[in-house]
């Protein structure tokens, strides 16, 4: 392999980017924008006080419990709405969105009872995430109510991260992996399609360049940009530079300041391996496209399933059984798992799961290199 030729191919990719400001924006601006937006949405989520109504169906014993609940709810920051004393009026209030949760104290003997009265929670069931938030708020308030009364207290601790859950913690590694794959795939696919359609590949193959040099040059060129992209994403995600208020501008923080534990070197290694896989997948699939639009049409096939199954939103083990084996052959699965291992658990090369992640990513990259190189044909060895 001739290093000078590899470098020249990588340089030509960089030179192309220099003039293609839109692609640069896509590569660097888009992930930052998405990350900031996501941070804002997740952290800034307004959670208004949960509105509850309490109905007693269990006679005098129930009345005592209701009083306890109402007191606990008030001290727990919930808003108790008076809607009358019947189950029907509680249902009506739920339907009209005057309350979020209706608590009914049912007499002993109702299904689910263990001898004492049962407290039934009813939610609208329209937006299940909202429901869970409100139910959790009620449970927290009730737990506070029993605290100090001799009943067992409930305390929540976490193994990693902070006990006050920041959804961003688990999202950031997933997004780094996702963006690393997505943009590199699209940009390489389009770039190599142009080589094939525009006649430059034919021209290139009429020089003494080796196929391995073309593949290496492309991997280096796009791998470099993928790595730069990760640097930017990492700075935004984990940076926590506080910029004080200047004049009319309010104080703000450059970066989301997400807690991270891991080694930057391992982060780069994971993203680089993933990017090399993405480069060669782009080269491979550019064979099956005639136009740039057709490269974009691969996104629903190549990118979306990986985003859905690869662990961006849900963990692999929570997937339906038939989907789990599929998730386990997707490169993004291993990249995201690896990035979580490094960034959240702070694991090093000694960790066996991280070793598996790296090995699989390496294997995927090698397989895609071989397949990609096979599509660059010249009758010359």
């Amino acid at each position: 392999m001739n290093v000078r030729r590899v470098a020249a191919i990588a340089r030509r990719i960089a030179n192309g980017f220099k003039r293609d400001h839109r692609s640069l924006g896509l590569l660097f601006g888009a992930p930052v924008l998405v990350l900031l937006l996501l941070g804002w949405v997740i952290r800034g989520q307004s959670s208004p006080a949960t509105r509850i109504a309490v109905v007693n169906e269990a006679g005098p014993l129930g009345a005592v419990i209701v009083t306890r609940i109402v007191d606990a709810a008030r001290t727990g920051g919930l808003q108790v709405v008076d809607i009358g004393a019947s189950v029907d009026s509680a249902r009506a209030a739920l339907a009209d969105d005057r309350i979020d949760v209706a608590l009914t104290v049912e007499p002993p003997g109702t299904p689910g009872s263990t001898g004492g009265p049962v407290i039934e929670l009813m939610t609208p069931g329209v937006i299940s995430t909202d429901d869970s938030l409100h139910v959790a708020a009620v449970q927290r308030a009730l737990a506070d109510a029993v605290a100090g009364t001799g009943a067992p207290a409930v305390v929540h601790r976490v193994l990693y991260g902070s006990p006050d859950p920041d959804v961003l913690d688990s999202f950031a590694p997933a997004l780094i992996g996702f963006f690393g794959f997505f943009f590199v795939f699209v940009l390489t696919g389009v770039s190599f399609l142009r080589e094939r359609v525009g006649g430059t590949l034919e021209r290139l193959l009429a020089t003494p360049v080796r196929r391995s040099e073309i593949v290496a040059g492309y991997s280096l060129g796009f791998g470099l940009f993928a790595t730069l992209q990760v640097v930017v994403i990492l700075m935004v995600a984990f940076g926590s530079l506080r910029v004080p208020a200047i004049g009319p501008l309010p104080e703000f923080s450059a970066g989301l300041g997400i807690a991270n534990a891991g080694s930057p070197a391992l982060t780069f290694l994971i993203v680089f391996l993933l990017a090399i896989g993405a480069v060669n997948l782009g080269i491979l699939l550019s064979t099956f496209a005639r136009t740039e639009l057709q490269v974009i049409q691969f996104i629903p096939i190549v990118i979306v399933p990986q985003a859905l199954l690869g662990g961006v939103f849900w963990s692999i083990s929570s997937l339906p059984d038939p989907l789990q084996p599929i998730a386990r052959v997707l490169p993004l699965t291993y990249a995201i798992d690896g990035l979580r291992n490094v960034l959240i658990r702070g694991e090093g090369l000694a960790s066996q799961t991280l070793q598996v992640d790296l090995l699989v990513l390496l294997l995927v990259a090698v397989v895609l290199i071989v397949l990609g190189a096979a599509t660059i044909r010249r009758e010359v060895a």
Partner: protein
Amino acid sequence: MTAGTDVAPVVEARELRKVFGPIAAVDGISLDFTPGRIYGLLGPNGSGKTTLIRLLVGLARPTSGTARVLGTEMPERQVLGRIGYMTQADGIYADLSVVENARFFASMYGVRDRTAIEEALDLVDLGGRHSTPVEELSGGMRRRLSLACALVHRPRLLFLDEPTVGVDPALRVVFWEHFRRLAADGATIVVSSHVMDEADRCDELLLILNGRVLARGSGAQIRETAGTHDLEGAFLRLAGRAAPAAEAPPREAPPNDREGAAS
């Protein structure tokens, strides 16, 4: 250099055939090209000129027959360093500047000598446009840059696939003068064209139709054989003679005058 008549041929092809499905794009072509001469491949669109060049450069593998180039059986990667190939499509990077394109192809050929790059750009009159992005060049300028990219390594053998399409007449003259100079230095040049008026600038012509050589020789010889005053007429007459033969066994069919049978 070019002395003598029995110099080893630069390009030798024996019964080259290339079949794409039902089409024989190149259908049994043999040829010998000697150093220092300009050869013209003349034929209409689809006659097989590009496919023949691709076989000779080693970008396609012949269905049957052999091609030897610069003493080596093709396809062979190493030989490509001594061949220049200007493709029919421009084959230059639209997102690079003029000089970046030239340098890129120079690197691919392993050339580090900047003067060769400058020379090639000056030749095509793009010396003053180094940093212009290709996107901003006219069609003719792109064609010129494409030629420059085929010259950066000073090849001994040059294949030019329709090099003067879209180039204005004044620059065409410059192109041909330069081709002649390269040939005088011992380079062998193979030019394909579907326009007949350039053909007389070649030392030897091969009229190609349906993947076969209809006639070969200098322009004057071909006109004489066909009994016409211009090459265009010669081509039509020779093609008319060959067409009925396509139904009969190839080559052996005698020329006859069933003009109406030609399709």
